[in-house]
Symmetry: C2
Subunit: 571 residues, 2 copies
């Protein structure tokens, strides 16, 4: 039967974060086409299946085309009357279907004649197919999820906790998350929408001011209809307003206050004053956005003033000769494998006799290293893998740091200069190489969700790196990489990760690090063959015990992802 | 003599960063008032002095008021004729004074009658007085400077270099600075200005999308004059556009492309389509802003889409009982003063028996510390003060870290819990206490300049801290403070600073750290009395030698500010 059709997009998240069920309706006049193949409308109970074959709908009148003839005319006449009657009846039922959505504007219900132009949203399945990357639906949603598939296993991080502990853990995580958000100024307020036909010119985006500083506001103007008096009011909340124009108080009121009002009979004078409006930040804060309003009669424009101090540069002088020694430090950590570390050190010295090597050691016995360019640090026994990594990088005084594991082997393909060139010429923060042909590139995708985010990991890269064939952009690489010291230090290696860990660093760096990978810079790896020396063999046995991922350790890492990174699950 | 007047604001930096000499001109009709006391105009050669006493100027006609009478009338008539003639002559000279400024709109020269309303900018001196804080002019300028005054000494950081080295150093610094800017997406593009009366609704600020993700663009609408056909084009550059509305290709073209065009005869249909426009980021990048344009006939609106990944949270679980031991770690560094460190450790244990104490030691001989809650780290001899600080904080696994110097003394006023409470309840990143009554609070102000920034330091605080009487907000504090570990680690202590250093940490943290200070949490300080024990006395003597700021060290620190922080000078 002909009837109303509706397509449901599902619980789509509105810009303000509110949930909205988007329902579109179609007027009955379209029902006429329902029966024709590939018609616009879908029956209500078949809304989730099938696809719509769009049809042109501009000449609505054509649908009701009339031709001259005998019985056919009569039939057409009868149909028209029937449709008209039906249309009238159904029109009265129109109000039953509510168009509810959490938007700031309630759009007008389209005119039935117009609706024949077909105003429907495609089913969720089709929207998913439009915005999927590497099989992940990268579109806003309330709830994200991690599904097992043949290619990926999924982990729910909650599983790492004892079910009896979980409610308390959830509460603590929520409290910590809210504290973090408060300090970061999150969640961001919903986007500010400008109405059409505002008689104002104003800056849409990009005015920044340092706390307690003043900036001129560019682009303010008024071009409204002629009036005997023009009155325009500017209002700020985290700062005060003024104008550089030297104007009497009868024209400009509130100079140096949070509200500035200009009243004049001359639109030109008004605009002269507006051109020199200044904003003064009055509160010392770390990062705030002040929405300044600009009003006249019933028109209101809003624009943001971003109050923040710039990032303080931390530059490194490469020196007049740009010696590699002044630009790169090698960093590593060792534990119960002194022979391997010494072998690696020897291999470094074959190619780079004077590069500083920083080594963090949490073994039982300290090493004696006879090398004037080695900086040796001892730690409490077994303090841990990432603690040691964090220690080593904390001591670097050059622009770049090259991370190597203590069992690597430098060879003639291990060209640090190539990696330096990549970082010098691109915007990458980290560039990985290849360990005996293994680049271990992986991409990370994040989906937001109410119970924590969903993190997806896929091997491979996003795109090639411009200007460097053989290099790509990705999210994570192998443990042989050159990095900007300052950025590496700002992300850091979490000392809570004591045993086996790798991708955690890149996950912590998501959003902070731009990571690349070049397969043409290769380092070797010492073989895993057992040692002969009994003392070293004993050490290695202990080492291997520490290196195994026990169940407790795996659960610890999953729980860490749950709490620390506010994640829900991963695939 | 009556003549043109102009006020020069100086080399004011326009929003796009361009320099502009702002010159305002005043029509000669104003000259009439020049002679009256406190008149609007200023003679050209006295433009930098004096102040303007604004006078109401709306009823321009009043200036030319006529009254009926005999000889007076004649005088008035003569003056009027003279003025008219003068006005005509000077009007022709109007074009000589050019209104040049790097703005996107060239404002119209006001009508002479209007100009009597006095459109002048105050002299620089007055602008300075408007926007000065603590004696520093916090307003955009091309060149900042540091002047000696009775209260402040100034340092030019270039003086730290050999004049013969300086040109090469400048070039290297500029190269490093440009690399840094490229990676940070600086300088920011000039503010985007919206023209008045655009027939569009659109988001002004706040649409964010993660790289490779899709977001719906809220608030798009068109409300223009009626037309037979409406054609609206959206153009992006770092992503593609689409619409969720199921519409045929004859109406919407370019779906999934960088340019989306909607052509329809129905404004309602147009708006339905616009309501569901989506933006898909197509490039994997760290932080970009895509200016999307929205055009129809001759109207163009632009709005920003910010492409970035969110900051990955790094939360710490306080545990079900919120034990202080699970929330706070004490960190310190020691060098050639083992007795002082041990004394301090004993004083800690009197009040906090189980808090973890992390100590970095770059002395010659390692200590033996019999305390199961002390983590002891050794470093290369004399590696340095800030290197040791960076090492110690790199090992912290709790939410907060309390920094103490190795010669402090805990007492019953040293209430760590109070500092924890301050950080838990506010947005501060760091809160300092008092060392025997000394809070050492100082504020930092930054002015941008072409040859590097000017940094100003003033003692005291910005404002009280809401909710905590006895606490204030400032930029720097004494070396007794509690900090958010994650944020402290992200700023870090620069290991290049080997000897005496303090404020460098807070300077590096400018913009990243919100710092507070509470005078009611007090720690003691061990007296400077010399030790009896000869071995310790020898150590102390060596220590004092390292502790002195040699000329070379002072120059090193000034040079570091010059290069690393891109500063020009300081007061």
């Amino acid at each position: 039967m002909l009837g109303w059709t509706c397509t449901e997009l599902g619980a789509r998240q509105g810009p303000g974060g509110g949930r909205g069920l988007v329902v579109r309706w179609a007027a009955p006049a379209q029902a006429l086409r329902a029966s024709s193949a590939g018609g616009w409308c879908q029956k209500l109970d078949s809304r989730r299946g099938g696809s719509l074959a769009p049809q042109p709908g501009r000449s609505e009148a054509a649908a009701f085309g009339m031709t001259s003839c005998g019985s056919r005319c009569l039939w057409i006449l009868k149909m028209s009357v029937l449709l008209l009657a039906l249309g009238t009846v159904l029109f009265m039922f129109r109000s039953i279907y509510v168009y509810t959505e959490s938007r700031s504007d309630t759009p007008q219900l389209p005119h039935p004649a117009l609706a024949a132009g077909m105003l429907k949203l495609p089913p969720e399945k089709r929207v998913r197919s439009l915005f999927t990357y590497d099989g992940i639906w990268l579109f806003p949603k309330n709830q994200c999820k991690c599904d097992d598939s043949e290619l990926q296993r999924s982990y729910n991080f909650e599983d790492a906790y004892d079910p009896s502990d979980l409610p308390a853990v959830k509460m603590r995580r929520q409290a910590e998350f809210e504290h973090f958000q408060r300090r970061e100024g999150l969640p961001r307020p919903p986007p500010v929408l400008a109405q059409p036909n505002l008689p104002f010119g104003y800056p849409v985006h990009g005015v920044e001011v340092m706390p307690l500083h003043t900036v001129p506001i560019p682009g303010l103007q008024f071009e409204g209809p002629d009036a005997p008096i023009y009155e325009v009011t500017l209002t700020a909340s985290l700062g005060t307003l003024n104008t550089l124009a030297d104007i009497p108080d009868s024209v400009v009121q509130g100079r140096g206050q949070k509200q500035l009002t200009i009243s004049t009979s001359s639109q030109e004078l008004l605009n002269f004053i507006l051109q020199d409006v200044t904003y003064t930040s009055t509160e010392y804060q770390r990062h705030r956005v002040d929405m300044v309003t600009l009003e006249s009669s019933s028109s209101v424009a809003k624009f943001p003033v971003i109050i923040r101090l710039p990032v303080m540069p931390k530059l490194y002088d490469p020196g007049p000769e740009r010696k590699l020694r002044d630009m790169v430090t090698i960093a590593t950590k060792t534990f119960l494998r002194p022979h391997k570390f010494m072998t690696m050190l020897q291999s470094i010295r074959k190619y780079y006799p004077d590069l500083t090597v920083i080594v963090a050691d949490d073994s039982k016995k300290p090493l004696k290293i006879n090398d004037s360019h080695v900086e040796y640090y001892t730690m409490p026994f077994g303090k841990g893998w990432f603690a040691g990594r964090n220690l080593a990088i904390s001591q670097v005084t050059t622009k770049y740091v090259l991370w190597v594991d203590d069992d690597f082997l430098f060879n003639n393909k291990t060209k640090i200069e190539v990696l330096v060139d990549v970082l010098e010429k691109t915007e990458l923060d980290v560039v990985g190489g290849s360990v005996l042909g293994n680049v271990f590139q992986f991409k990370l995708f994040l989906e937001h969700g109410e119970n924590g985010d969903c993190l997806h990991r896929r091997s491979g890269s996003f795109r090639p790196l411009d200007g460097f064939p053989g290099c790509v952009v990705t999210s994570g690489v192998v443990n042989f990489f050159l990095a900007h010291t300052e950025r590496l230090q700002s992300v850091g290696f979490d000392p809570r990760l004591q045993r086996v860990a790798h991708s955690e660093f890149f996950i912590d760096g998501l959003g902070s690090l731009l990571v690349g990978s070049c397969s043409n810079v290769i380092i070797g790896h010492q073989p895993h063959s057992p040692v002969v020396d009994p003392e070293l063999a004993a050490l290695e046995k202990t080492y291997n015990a520490y290196r195994t991922n026990t169940k407790a350790q795996i659960e610890f890492k999953l729980a860490l992802h749950y709490f620390k990174n506010h994640l829900q699950c991963t695939t």
